[in-house]
Amino acid sequence: MNPDLDQIWQWLATVPDPEIPVISVVDLGIVRGVAWQGDTLEISVTPTYSGCPATTVISADITTALRQKGVDHITIKQQLSPPWTTDWLSDTGREKLQKYGIAPPQASGRPKNCPQCHSIDLEKISQFGSTPCKALWRCKACLEPFDYFKCH
């Protein structure tokens, strides 16, 4: 008897992103589809950035987590289209990022406020940060540098 898909989504929601473990792969919006084909579970995953080295780790983490729940047959399909966008980041994902100290993406292309002191007096240090999905900003009020999750 296959576990139902709601159950699978709940399990997937506990698989952390390997580079930003405070959010799950579901929060990140990269799990695009889950379906049973007979007794094999097919999961479609889309990369955030084409060169993101976390992509293979994410597939391995998903497989490991579901195996522990007793799902034995899993295929992970890489899906390119439509390309991933930060619009798919869940609202809870955005809140978790902010609390963790990473400013969530904004349509304006710049962080809304400093995740530490909430000041809006900010400056960009670099368009790129420690992972492909982030840029580096600094708060001019509390002087703390912080990561900004790029709008993509």
Partner: protein, 250 residues
């Protein structure tokens, strides 16, 4: 020779060779932020390479993976633009080359997102989002350095003078390009020139730099007819592990 396969090699070899060149800066850039930015740029390019060369292998139908194509071909089988295999030079020259390529790449991908081949269109849609970010950064940096100090201005003008003869190759067409155009897969390279000139002209003017008047063009990279001596040196470094230890994996 399947023209689609050749076209895909050209796209993938461009990003592979430039990605490798840019990665050479890792740990050497002038400041930490630039080091990280260059490594991120290289990573995007290598990611795009996996998609283009992966599809090339699929189209070829001989069971070759993107890795096989990247690591097990010699110089004469590479189809990248000569511009991209040139040594990095100083930081300014690296960023000038990046801008010239990004400008062409963004225009090219803008057409490929509407390719008649859905696989090409999908890859282009993914890459176009990344390249839009790349060109914003390389253009800003070219303006910052060109319209910067007397020293940085002189270096950026020298970089432009040195690299400009390699720009023309981007717009030269051959039978492969003709076949791509006829099948609606990719645009005629010459048709991209106006959009490129508009973008490059605007940015370089803002950077207070002068585009050389001489239109002499170096060529031979995208056809594979004549690469520079530099490509062999890149391949030595990039491929030695797979050559010395075939099939090595970790």
């Amino acid at each position: 020779m399947d023209p689609l396969f050749q076209f895909l090699l050209r796209m993938g070899d461009n990003t592979l060779v430039l990605g490798h060149r840019v990665s050479e800066w890792c740990g050497h850039a002038p400041v930490l932020e630039e080091d990280i930015a260059l490594a991120n740029t290289a990573l995007d390019l290598i990611g795009q390479t996996q998609m283009w060369l992966g599809l090339a292998g699929e189209v070829e139908g001989k069971g070759r993976s993107a890795d096989d194509i990247a690591f097990l071909r010699d110089v004469w089988d590479f189809r990248n633009l000569l511009l991209l295999e040139l040594p990095n030079g100083d930081f300014g020259q690296t960023l000038m080359r990046q801008f010239l390529f990004d400008a062409w790449h963004s225009v090219q991908l803008g057409h490929l997102i509407n390719s008649s081949d859905p696989r090409v269109a999908e890859i282009a849609q993914k890459a176009a989002k990344e390249v839009a970010y790349q060109v914003e950064r390389s253009a800003d940096t070219v303006v910052g350095l060109g319209d910067g100090t007397a020293e940085s201005h002189v270096r950026m003008q020298a970089a432009l003078d040195y690299l400009w003869p390699y720009v023309g190759e981007m717009f030269q067409g051959d039978t492969v390009d003709l076949a791509m155009k006829e099948q609606g897969i990719a645009p005629d390279p010459a048709s991209l020139r106006d959009d490129f000139d508009a973008l490059a002209g605007r940015v370089l003017a803002q950077a207070t730099l002068t585009i050389p008047q001489d239109n002499y063009t170096q060529q031979g990279g995208k056809t594979g007819a004549r690469h520079t001596e530099h490509l062999g040196h890149i391949l030595c470094q990039m491929q030695w592990l797979q050559r010395a230890y075939p099939g090595a994996n970790w």
